[in-house]
Amino acid sequence: MTPFEEDLKQALKRQEPAGDFTARVLERCAQEDAKKRNGFWHGFWTAPAWRLGAVTAALVLVAGGTAYEQHEREVKREARGMEAKRQLILAMRIAGTKLQEVQQRVKESEQIEQ
């Protein structure tokens, strides 16, 4: 190392931070740990009443909405079933009428032959 580099080394000697540096770092670390431990649920249960109320109302709204949607789906499905049944009955009636007509014509043609 040259004398100039030695001068540089001297100039760039390490310096100490303020005396309470370690204590302050450890305090911040402890705060971080406490935050991590407490997490979401701690915050939830210790929240002010209005915040709990708002969360509960939101949950009720979501649950109510889901129930209403399910009910609507049931009603629509029932309506579709009834419509299908009506169309089936109508189709059977038409088929019955046609069958009767055919039988009638067969009878008439048999009588003419005799």
């Binding site: 390490r14 540096f21 370690t22 450890l26 670390c29």
Partner: protein
């Protein structure tokens, strides 16, 4: 302070591979000067350097489980401190950096006594371009090997060498011109 040391030591548990690591509080105590000085060399502001050094140790605390050995710890601290300091210096560039040409003339006292050379050199180092400043700080403050500097700064060893010699050349020229040092080698 004692209670805090105990609290954080118990919080920061060690894994099997970390058996050789000292407790977190001792790490802070043992390396605070290094981290603080790196920050200070880049920022030249005691409050900002103190804050940055605290942030580095807080980050270490969060990443404690990933530290495998004392050597890894030292490397990690130097790397994170240097990169954070570079980022912080960039943010406050206008304050921290002045070009070599703009750097203040030495005072009469600086010309008179060698101890003032140190403060002059510090100012000159602060005025170096970012890369050169980083390598000079790691080389002469931390006394790191070229290979280690290359790893910390993610550079080639040859680049580190080049940056160091360029920085030294600049500094020598500046010092010999301004302080009239005849024997700057």
């Amino acid at each position: 302070m004692g209670a805090l040391l105990t609290a954080t030591t118990s919080i920061t548990t060690t894994r099997e591979g970390q058996a050789s690591l000292p407790p977190f509080a001792s790490v802070v105590e043992g390396h605070k000067a290094m981290v603080y000085s790196i920050a200070w060399q880049f920022l030249h502001d005691r409050v900002a350097a103190d804050e940055l050094a605290q942030d580095v140790f807080l980050q270490l605390h969060k990443n404690w489980a990933s530290i495998q050995s004392p050597a890894h710890l030292l490397f990690w601290l130097r790397k994170v401190a240097t990169h954070r300091a570079i980022d912080a210096a960039r943010k406050r560039k206008s304050k921290a950096e002045t070009s070599l040409e703009e750097a203040d003339e030495p005072t009469v006292l600086e010309r008179v006594h060698d101890s003032f050379l140190a403060s002059y050199l510090k100012r000159m180092v602060a005025s170096l371009p970012e890369k050169q400043r980083s390598v000079i700080i790691l080389r002469y403050q931390e006394e790191m090997e070229l290979e280690e500097i290359a790893k910390v700064l993610s550079m080639n060893v040859s680049t580190v060498k080049t940056q160091i010699s360029r920085a030294l050349e600049l500094l020598r020229g500046k010092v010999s011109r301004r302080l009239g040092k005849e024997n700057v080698l």
